[in-house]
């Protein structure tokens, strides 16, 4: 990883690039003239159209920088960014303003005085929607990018400062070494909303530092799964699941770590075969990023266990031709603890929804996204069961890593946390 990019500060800010000084400046912006959310929707929509346009220079710069820093495939990055910004168009943003940022009868709304966003992980776009929604709502936003991925928020904020400086004056993207207790306690006293992504431990530490009246949106440890029934084991489902596995190499909390197959073993094996074929094809378009020694060793560990079970007739495996390119394992007796990473997907045969629930028990309460491929008549039953198991998002195979950035995240609306509704009585 190269050196962190320079912070992006509000255009009218003339002080030093210190997080607390910047936060105080942002805090002081509340109440000053600022574009309304409908006006902001137009300005942001224009900018996002430029990001999503064919041959966009903004996107090309981001793809090149992200590829150099993370190793993710340029075509994956390009598609991910294009889809992301297309879904943040002016009409869509207008709809968000109408639905979530407009005062109801007898109400006024005001943006939160200071929103502090702490991002995490190395999946680009994962927490960028928090920054964009804060800007839409007019909430001054101090955005601390993930140390592993500061590039996209920085480039986005720069593009905003150039195209809409009036909006950008309520935004700063600035990093610091996490865990600075004095700084984070001071920010915690100032922020009216804190949106944090990260490990449970990091969130727990951060939460202890925020003001009692502040709105807290913490997004901690989660995992995601794929579910497919025998009726859903189509070539399209295999291609979609391969996309979910290859998109960001299973690094995100919305990446499937396991694929539960409600089918007999021969149908599951046939699906494994299809999935292997789809992974082989997709890996040519989206090659895996380079692995660290630790990551490679982890895949070797997983493969060793799978290989033994396969050798003893207790499982099957499909391996990429290139070293550690991808791994598909069919392990009838596996559960959540057998989950893989870096394009390693374990297929588990389950007898039905109850069996699925039992296999997920070790991770109770942490399920995020589930892809579901099944017959139409099975959908309602499986959907209900997945919701009961705690899934906060259901989607078709192939869409797990491409969520709607304006939809609720982990079942919660970010917009609601970015404004305060003031009841105005007589």
């Amino acid at each position: 990883m190269s050196a962190s990019p320079a912070p992006v500060l509000p255009p009218a800010y003339a002080g030093e690039a210190a997080p607390l000084a910047v936060a105080e400046y942002l805090y002081a912006q509340a109440g000053k003239p600022h574009p309304t959310p409908p006006a902001a929707a137009e300005m942001l929509g224009d900018l996002h159209a430029r990001w999503a346009a064919p041959g966009s220079a903004l996107r090309a710069e981001a793809v090149a920088a992200l590829h150099a820093s993370s190793g993710y495939a340029p075509r994956l990055l390009d598609e991910s960014l294009r889809r992301f910004f297309r879904r943040l168009s002016a009409p869509r943003l207008r709809r968000v303003v109408r639905r979530e940022l407009r005062p109801r009868t007898g109400e006024l709304i005001r943006p939160a005085r200071l929103t502090w966003v702490t991002a995490a992980g190395n999946v680009p776009v994962a927490s960028l929607s928090a920054l964009i929604l804060a800007t839409l709502a007019g909430a001054p936003c101090l955005y601390k990018p993930a140390s592993a991925e500061p590039i996209l928020p920085t480039l986005y904020a720069r593009s905003l400062a150039e195209s809409a400086p009036s909006l950008a004056n309520r935004l700063a993207v600035i990093g610091w070494r996490g865990g600075d207790a004095d700084l984070e306690s001071a920010l915690g006293r100032l922020a009216e909303t804190v949106i944090a992504f990260g490990s449970d431990a990091a969130l727990e530490s951060l939460r202890s530092r925020i003001a009692p009246g502040a709105v807290w949106c913490g997004f901690g440890h989660r995992y995601s799964i794929a579910c497919v029934t025998s009726a859903g084991m189509t070539a399209a489902a295999a291609r979609g699941t391969a996309r979910d596995v290859c998109a960001y190499d299973q690094q995100g909390c919305m990446s499937p770590l396991l694929c539960f197959c409600a089918a007999d073993s021969s149908a599951t094996a046939a699906f494994g075969e299809r999935l292997a074929l789809a992974l082989a094809r997709l890996s040519r378009r989206w090659p895996r990023r380079p692995l660290s020694l630790g990551e490679a060793a982890a895949i070797r560990r997983l493969r060793a266990g799978v290989e033994l079970r396969a050798a003893l007739g207790r499982g099957r495996q499909w391996l990429s031709e290139e070293p550690l390119g991808w791994t598909v394992a069919l392990l009838p007796e596996a559960d959540l603890r057998d989950a893989g990473r870096d394009r390693s997907l374990v297929l588990i045969s389950v007898s039905g929804e109850d069996d699925l629930a039992a296999r997920l028990r070790p991770g109770e309460g942490r399920l995020s996204t589930a892809s579901l491929a099944c017959a139409p008549e099975e959908r309602s039953r499986w959907t209900q069961r997945l919701l009961t198991l705690g899934a906060t998002r259901l989607c078709a195979p192939g869409r797990m890593q491409f969520p709607n950035p304006l939809a609720p995240h982990e079942g919660r609306s970010l917009c609601a946390s970015l404004i305060r509704r003031i009841s105005v009585g007589r």
């Binding site: 991002a119 995490a120 992980g121 190395n122 999946v123 994962a126 993930a146 592993a148 992504f197 990260g198 490990s199 449970d200 997004f219 901690g220 440890h221 989660r222 995992y223 690094q251 995100g252 909390c253 990446s255 770590l257 692995l291 660290s292 020694l293 630790g294 990551e295 490679a296 060793a297 982890a298 070797r300 560990r301 060793a304 266990g305 290989e307 033994l308 396969a310 050798a311 003893l312 070293p323 550690l324 959540l336 603890r337 989950a339 990473r341 870096d342 070790p362 991770g363 942490r366």
Partner: protein
């Protein structure tokens, strides 16, 4: 008892300073491979899956290796070349990924070959000869920890090389500080050299106690120290050079007289490093440093995963793929530690957290 085992024992007993030429090692390795392929069903199944058999593996480097994690598959899958009725001894690894049931398991008919390898190499690298030495043991023993291979090692070493006055200062309750202090005092008063053998963790505890109470000894010339297990479990791990200085300050044992042992339950043989930090195998072991991604030899100076070919592993599997990371050095390798898991990635940590919570 097989003729092959007799040959291997004889090889070990020739001494760890007697080189085993490459062609002799290759011949023995291929013979051991055939022996294990024919007698160990799970290993044969793995080899068949990889399309490897004694008929098509001409180079010992291509003998299929078994990952250390595979030994944790449970009692139903034991990598042993002897029938179940003859598996009289059981050693278990300490690392777990699935709680106690996931501990690795090694089953042996006896320890003749293990002991031949152990004693020969220990004499050469730790004692520089086979004269008895008063051994002060700060680690597990076979009596108290019968499933610990380290316990067996320390016990056998004491039986073979321990002079009168040797003792064990570690139990289920931990370090027996007072008794060890008394033993060190006695050795110092009598001017008798000692060999302090123990886990690095236990020795660190003792060093901390000694420093806190201002204790230090001037042990007789010829004293030496062997530690094993690394210091990474300590609250504040010390760099090796600093640890050597602390040994010297407390025991008056010069760094040149300190060796670091590297071993594992899955291996019958051990490696020893002097102050320069190069782990030396005995002649009947070859170690490859492999690129983790390709499993081809790592580039010179680059870290890679260690794969050991230990002829003394006749009763289990000779070729062991580890998660340990090292760099090839002249005469051996520099051990860097265990390959880290996949690094934490933001909020997507649930499964790693699950595994961690099960280990603790």
């Amino acid at each position: 008892m097989s003729r092959l085992e007799d040959r291997l024992i004889a090889q070990c007993e020739r001494g760890a300073d007697v080189p085993l030429p490459e062609e002799d090692f290759a011949e023995l390795a291929l013979e051991v491979f055939r022996y294990q392929y024919e007698r160990c069903a799970p290993y044969r199944a793995l080899c068949r899956l990889r399309g490897a058999s004694p008929a098509n593996v001409p180079d010992w480097r291509d003998i299929p290796a078994v990952h250390t994690d595979v030994f944790k598959a449970g009692s139903a899958t034991v990598f042993s070349t002897v029938p179940p009725a003859e598996r009289r001894l059981c050693y278990r690894t300490t690392g777990t990924t699935r709680g106690p049931a996931g501990r690795g398991e090694i089953r042996l008919p006896d320890t003749r070959l293990y002991d031949a390898s152990l004693l020969s190499h220990f004499a050469a690298r730790v004692l520089s000869g086979d004269a008895p030495l008063r051994l002060l043991i700060v680690g597990p023993t076979a009596e108290r920890f019968p499933q610990s291979s380290l316990g067996h090692m320390l016990t056998r070493v004491r039986e073979r090389f321990g002079a009168p006055g040797s003792g064990v200062f570690w139990s289920e309750k931990g370090l027996q500080t007072g008794c060890l202090i008394a033993a060190l005092n006695r050795a110092e008063e009598e001017g008798v050299p000692v060999g302090i053998l123990g886990t690095t963790g236990a020795l660190r505890l003792f060093l901390d106690d000694a420093v806190e109470h201002g204790l230090r000894w001037s042990l007789a010339p010829g004293s030496r120290l062997m530690d094993t297990g690394g210091d990474k479990g300590a609250a504040t791990p010390l760099p090796r050079a600093l640890l050597l200085r602390r040994y010297e300050a407390t025991f008056d044992i010069a760094p040149a007289q300190v060796v670091n042992e590297y071993g594992m339950t899955e291996l019958a043989s051990q490696f020893y490093a002097g102050p320069e930090g190069v782990m030396q195998p005995p002649p009947w072991v070859r170690t490859l440093v492999l690129d983790a991604e390709t499993l081809r030899p790592a580039a010179p100076g680059e870290p890679g995963l260690l794969r050991h070919y230990d002829l003394a592993n006749l009763h289990t599997v000779m070729a062991i793929q580890t998660d340990d990371v090292g760099i090839r050095r002249a005469g051996g390798f520099e051990l860097l530690g265990r390959a880290p898991g996949a690094p934490p990635r933001g909020c997507s940590l649930a499964v790693e957290a699950l595994r961690r919570s099960e280990r603790s």
